[in-house]
Amino acid sequence: MNDDAELLERIRNGAPDDFAEVVRRHQARVFAILHRYERDAHKVEDLAQETFVKAWRALGQFDGRAPFEHWLSRIAVRVALDHLRKEKHRRNEIGLPELGEDALDWLRRGDEPSELDGRAAAEILDLALRELSPADRVVITLQEIEGRSVKEICAATGASGVAVRVRALRARAKLKRALERLAKL
């Protein structure tokens, strides 16, 4: 089985167990997307499962015009957005105890350049992004961390180009303020 198209054709023609191969091929990408929005590994796994089950249900709607990976990524982003909306009430408090020593040290240095690893950066961003609405968080994450274009963000979120640009501008300003507040704590 060389590519996704052939594999998906087999599944549609009555080999549903071959979906396991779809999971194997794309699980790393799905986990990477979801991890941008949820740091708890168990919850990421639950969300990844939800993503694949939704993809399975909607497989008949995949028309093959875009790569399967892009289509699956869109489902993952929407699962993440739903998750953020559900979790919003639980996550509206910022607290320094959730940050590790490396993250705290980096923040306390102010504008002075210093080393920062991925884990510490993710901790800081996770805290700061909690101040944003779920939709703003998704847009800024896609744009600044995943490096997606406005067009790609439109495709992933179903929003218009104008809406994405406005949201990105607003989200960036809110994030800047949140990071400044964190640096002062």
Partner: protein, 99 residues
């Protein structure tokens, strides 16, 4: 926090390691999906149960047709269906030489 530090933050976050799927992840997904497969071919009794309303209507129609035919034959002065059965029984099935 200046722009340079913010860019550093985003760049570092890009490299944050995502958790790896657990060993059971693929099996869990497939278990969840199998619950959504179309149902297997129904057993014979399930098939009969599904067909029951049609079978019942077909049986009722046959009975009605038979009664109507018997009544029609009687009115026309021809031997009815019951007479035919009695004749067959008398001539073949229940005679001492029948078996």
């Amino acid at each position: 926090m200046n722009e340079r530090k913010r860019k550093q933050l985003f760049a570092a976050a890009r490299g944050a390691p995502a958790p790896a799927p657990s060993a059971a992840f693929e099996a869990n997904v497939m278990r969840a999906i199998r619950n959504e497969y179309p149902a297997e071919a129904p057993a014979i009794f399930d098939a009969l149960n599904q067909l029951f309303p049609r079978l019942a209507w077909a049986a009722a129609a046959i009975i009605l047709l038979s009664v109507a035919a018997d009544w029609g034959l009687t009115v026309a002065g021809l031997p009815g269906l019951g007479d035919g059965m009695t004749q067959i029984s008398a001539q073949w099935l229940l005679t001492p030489t029948g078996f």
